[in-house]
């Protein structure tokens, strides 16, 4: 949406296509905050250093520099648009500490930061008269002669396939948490855009880096924000020890996410968990502070875990949270296909490298969303509308018709459940060669089976099941790229931890994994990391 | 059982248009041994309209009512659901927000009053179904209304906001249903029983008000009700006084008698229709009485 606003402001004819209504997008769930060096005592350089270090030196430093330098202006612009970040005592924008940052740099709107920003984006869409095609599910990015021509989408309400013909297309489809059984992501976070882009000829980068958030509720995967630890919450094991003192003696609970997740997983695997969980303890913060700063967290814990954090510690565990990897773009969101751009979580610029810091992802969507919108606009200015290949719509229609026609196949949810289980078990916090290889085989088997699924719902209108089958196809594609990348990367870095290669190896692996499709096969190549200011050092918290 | 003594706040409506509600409440309370003490100083609660006018003024004027009750050493009993909701909400806000209580007391001190946040506001219905008790009420019934199918009309303000009222359950209300049963009659179930009568927009948007009244009455009628009963005089104004207008607006025949809760209880206690002021109704309840 940030991209659409930029282009619409510039007077372009812009449409947003989304499979849920814009205010339902998963950004709405982001709780903790958005980073920017606003205060005089902070600086974009410091923000940059924290981000580079957090990324385990895999982030491209030129992109990170852009993000950190442009952050303050973007935050102020959000306020101009109507957002109101929580205030400090003097009436300025308050900032809270977040994991992996050396300075309290995270602006927030109570614990509804994403909600606040998303709703303001939506307001601006209306203000600038952007067309909305809501509940349209994109099934194809149409590319011919390495130039994007537009998209094909299913209209949920009518079951019809439509084509939207455009000079430029920007993908901003978010993450893929739903590949995993335990995830903080919405039911709609199925990685569609990444798979569609790959199929259309774009490249995916660093897919093996999946962030596991250390504090999610057990059964539902609902997130307890890092803001909770920012406000001072403790993590306890079964013995009641603040176990982070062993893993990150200096910053304790505020170490970066991968470190905390691994610490928890170790505690769990070594038998110091309670029912597969560790405890997030907020009690000492007191009811007043909890209600003021973390009211939604309290609500979520009560409604979804039956625990009131004012009275009891909340059982939590690591869960799939964020995709560091994604569609490879340059610093203006451009992919290797002309007229095709990507921004947000589905893109990989890369600012997060091997591990993202809390509060940097909303920032990425805003900074690079704006840049991609601008670039798409410039691109449209300079190029004619190229034709929309007619047969592509026919092909898409055939593909859908084939799924609908099939009889007596398996149901999609069985395959989805198996995929969730196999990813969680073998491609989670701890990985090794054997597990990953098994995982890859299984995914390929599931892909075969997916070709045979059939539907019970043959109706045209509001066919949820059809959309689930389409999503499952994208999920399988994305899973394959993750596992492939993970299998090949024989080192441990950031969120990617190989028990068989536990050390970081800068000599061989300080490089990005790039996956693309060639003649139906997935191919891998590697690309150097852009290092400008900060030489790789050991990462210690 | 402790003595049931209340500072009695009938509300403006029952002192004029629906006088019969006030009069019959006094009669019935007398019969049941519930003491009602007048509040000669009490001002109007604002019926929600003062809330629109100025929130803190509304709070201060309500605190003035509470201060009088506090002086009397009694909780307030009202028969009007709107008064109940308006006062209970003010009371909740005053109890929850010490800053508001302070500011309000500062204003009250100008007229030599003070409210310390110690009273409760209740409704006749709650006293019957709660502290007085329906078992006891059942024993007092001399003329069970066993031929009547009655639609209980709670209306909105005797149930919501639950955070301020907190006696009955707005999703599964029981008090009026159970009172009807205790009086020997049968309670009719219909969806609109906890919804709005339309009173608040009688003078602002007649069309909405009249249609709403019609929809509620027809809903109960469709479920086989012989008559309605409501704990609230405002609901009564709409359901009874404005029923003819509602019929016209909805182009439907309704002719549904509507009782005040106190009248129904009085009849079951053996008081006469005259004593219950039934002739004051616009839709005569005669046809459903034996």
């Amino acid at each position: 949406m940030r991209a659409a606003i930029e282009a619409a402001k510039g007077g372009y004819n812009v449409a947003v296509v989304t499979k849920v209504y814009p205010v339902r997008s998963h950004s709405v769930a982001a709780q903790g905050g958005i980073n920017a060096a606003l205060k005089e005592t902070d600086s974009p350089e410091a923000h940059m250093f924290d981000t580079v270090k957090g990324s385990d030196y895999l982030g491209d430093q030129d992109a990170i520099e852009i993000m950190c330098k442009e952050a303050p202006a973007d935050i102020l612009e959000l306020e101009k648009m109507g957002a109101i970040f929580s205030r400090d005592k003097s009436g300025g924008i308050a900032q809270r500490p977040f994991g992996g940052a050396d300075y309290p740099r995270t602006c927030y709107l109570a614990d509804r930061t994403g909600h606040g920003i998303l709703h303001v984006m939506y307001e601006q869409l209306l203000k600038y008269g952007v067309y909305l095609y809501d509940e349209w599910h994109v099934v194809k990015l149409v590319v011919k002669d390495n130039t994007a021509r537009g998209i094909i989408a299913v209209e949920y309400e009518a079951g019809k396939l439509h084509r939207l013909h455009s000079k430029a297309t920007i993908i901003a489809t978010g993450g893929y948490g739903r590949l995993y059984k335990t995830t903080t992501n919405a039911l709609s976070s199925t990685g569609d855009g990444m798979a569609l882009a790959l199929d259309a000829g774009a490249e995916l980068m660093d897919m093996e880096f999946v962030q596991f958030h250390p504090t999610v509720l057990k059964r539902t995967g609902i997130l307890m924000t890092e803001g909770a630890r920012g406000e001072g919450a403790y993590l306890l094991n079964a013995k009641g020890e603040r176990f982070m003192s062993k893993y990150a003696p200096k910053v304790l609970e505020l170490a970066s996410r991968d470190v905390v997740s691994r610490a928890e997983q170790t505690e769990l695997e070594e038998g110091r968990g309670i029912d597969g969980c560790v405890l997030l303890d907020l009690r000492h913060l007191g009811e007043k502070k909890i209600n003021e700063r973390l009211s939604q967290i309290r609500e979520l814990a009560v409604n979804f875990a039956g625990v009131d954090p004012v009275k009891d510690p909340v059982p939590v565990k690591p869960g799939a949270h964020y995709s560091m990897g994604g569609i490879k773009t340059d610093n203006d969101g451009a992919t290797r296909i002309k007229g095709l751009f990507a921004a947000g979580e589905c893109a990989c610029v890369s600012v997060h490298g091997a591990n993202r810091l809390g509060g940097n992802s909303l920032l990425e969507t805003i900074v690079f969303g704006r840049r991609a919108g601008k670039k798409a606009m410039d691109f449209s200015k300079g190029s004619p509308l190229s034709d929309f290949p007619v047969d592509s719509l026919m092909d898409a229609a055939h593909e859908v018709a084939n799924i609908v026609k099939r009889e007596n196949g398996e149901a999609q949810y069985i395959i989805r459940d198996e995929l969730n289980a196999v990813m969680e078990e073998n491609c989670g916090v701890f990985r090794n060669k054997e597990r990953l290889a098994r995982c890859l085989d299984k995914i390929r088997e599931l892909k075969q089976r997916h070709n045979g699924v059939s539907l019970s719902d043959k109706g045209e209108l509001f066919n949820n099941e059809l959309l689930s089958v389409l999503e499952l196809g994208q999920m399988l594609t994305v899973s394959e790229t993750i596992v492939l990348g993970a299998l090949n990367r024989e080192e441990s870095r950031g969120s990617h931890y190989r028990t068989d290669f536990p050390a970081r190896n800068d000599k061989d692996w300080l490089k990005h994994t790039v996956i693309y499709r060639e003649g139906g096969e997935l191919k891998i190549r590697y690309r150097d990391v852009k290092i400008t200011k900060f030489k790789p050092e050991e990462r210690k918290y | 059982m402790a003595d049931l003594r209340y500072a009695y706040y009938p509300g403006c409506a029952s002192q004029a248009i629906t006088k019969e509600a006030n009069e019959t409440t006094r009669l019935v309370a007398g019969r049941l041994g519930i003491e009602l003490h007048d509040m000669p100083k009490a001002n109007c609660c604002g019926a929600g309209l003062l809330t629109d006018y100025d929130y803190e003024l509304y709070i201060a004027l309500n605190a003035r009512i509470f201060a009088e009750a506090e002086e009397m050493g009694m909780d307030i009993l009202t028969i009007c659901s709107t008064c109940l909701m308006v006062m209970a909400t003010a009371n909740r806000d005053l109890k929850e927000d010490p800053g508001l209580l302070d500011r309000t007391n500062k204003v009250l001190s100008k007229v030599g009053l003070r409210y310390s946040g110690n009273i409760k506001v209740v409704q006749l219905l709650w006293v019957l179904a709660g502290d007085y008790g329906l078992d006891k009420l059942r024993k007092q019934v001399v003329k069970p209304l066993n031929w009547l199918k009655i639609a209980p009309f709670y209306g909105c303000h005797s149930l919501r906001p639950a955070s301020a009222l907190g006696f009955d359950d707005p999703e599964k209300p029981w008090s009026l249903d159970a009172t009807i049963t205790a009086l020997g009659a049968q309670a009719v179930q219909y969806r609109g029983k906890t919804k709005c009568c339309g009173f608040q927009v009688d003078l602002v948007n007649e069309e909405t008000a009249e249609l709403m009244t019609a929809v509620r009455l027809l809903d109960g009628k469709g479920r086989g009700a012989d008559c309605f009963v409501t704990p609230c005089p405002f609901c009564h104004i709409n359901l009874d006084n404005y029923q003819k207008l509602a019929e016209k607006r909805a182009e439907a025949n309704i002719s549904m008698p509507v009782f005040h809760l106190s009248q129904l209880v009085g009849l079951a206690l053996g008081l006469s229709p005259e004593e219950m002021g039934l002739s004051r109704h616009l839709i005569s309840p005669e046809k459903v009485l034996k």
Binding site: K89, L461 | A13, K41, K110, L203, N205
Partner: protein, 319 residues
Amino acid sequence: MKIKFRIRRCSPISKEACDPYAQVFNVEAEEGMTVLEALLKISDEQDPTLAFRKSCRSAICGSCAMNINGFSRLACNTQVIPEYKKMGDMLIEPLSNHRPLKDLVVDFTPFWRKIEKVTPFLTPTKKTSEATVTAEAEAAIDRSQRCIMCGCCNAMCNSLEIDEHFIAPAALAKAWRLVGDVREGHQAKRLEKLSEEHGMWDCVRCVHCTEYCPKGVMPLKQIEMLRSGALKAGILDNPGAKHVEAMADSVKKIGRLDEAAMTFRTLGFLRSLGMIPFGLTMERHGKMPLPHIFPQIEEIEEVRKIYEEFEKALKKKKG
């Protein structure tokens, strides 16, 4: 525990119409299971044709509002077992006051159109855009900011049930979000628009919106703020505002509500006359409110003094 779910479904015939029917599913409910999880389970294992909206499953995206046992709820934050214990077998229906399209999916277009009607974005002037938002200024609109546009309030709104053109609580909460923002530049214009027909004065104060909002937005409270704002801005030429003014005067004068005087003031002389034939029947039953038959309450001076205090404070604030 096996729990019975009765679902009111609807199979679409076209984009405009659908054919309603009810269907029962039995679901094995485990501790902590939400209605949304139960529906997902039904659609996976029993009937994949069941249509409903969902996304975040954490009560923040606003997709999954539906009617559960007669009241608007978010399926994702309603737990099955406690709900069952309270209400018995589950009755799941599409959101009220909205047209079902298929099963539990309703037409949300009217909802968005209402939101759009209140110009749902900040329109500062040069001067107001410089205003600083203090913590206090933020607190004034805090609740209205929490809205997730789920439609639970509109679905329960008694006024909307009768008048589909009513602007309804969600849009009004949004309106206060903007009117109450110190950086907004067109408060008066907004309030004038909201005072038009089908606007904020048509709310019947049924409290349903506040009761059933899953995010504590308290739309009715925001409506009260808007109304106060309009009165203070002098937007008085409409029945709603006149009604309130008449009430405020009546209480100040005699300490009570004077029905007759209020009718007269709210409706104006001619329309009051129009009510006379009806008034005559009321008269026969002794129900015609006559002006000033009320005795004044005792110690009315106290009331007047309280009014004065507020009038003084207001003047000080303005000047």
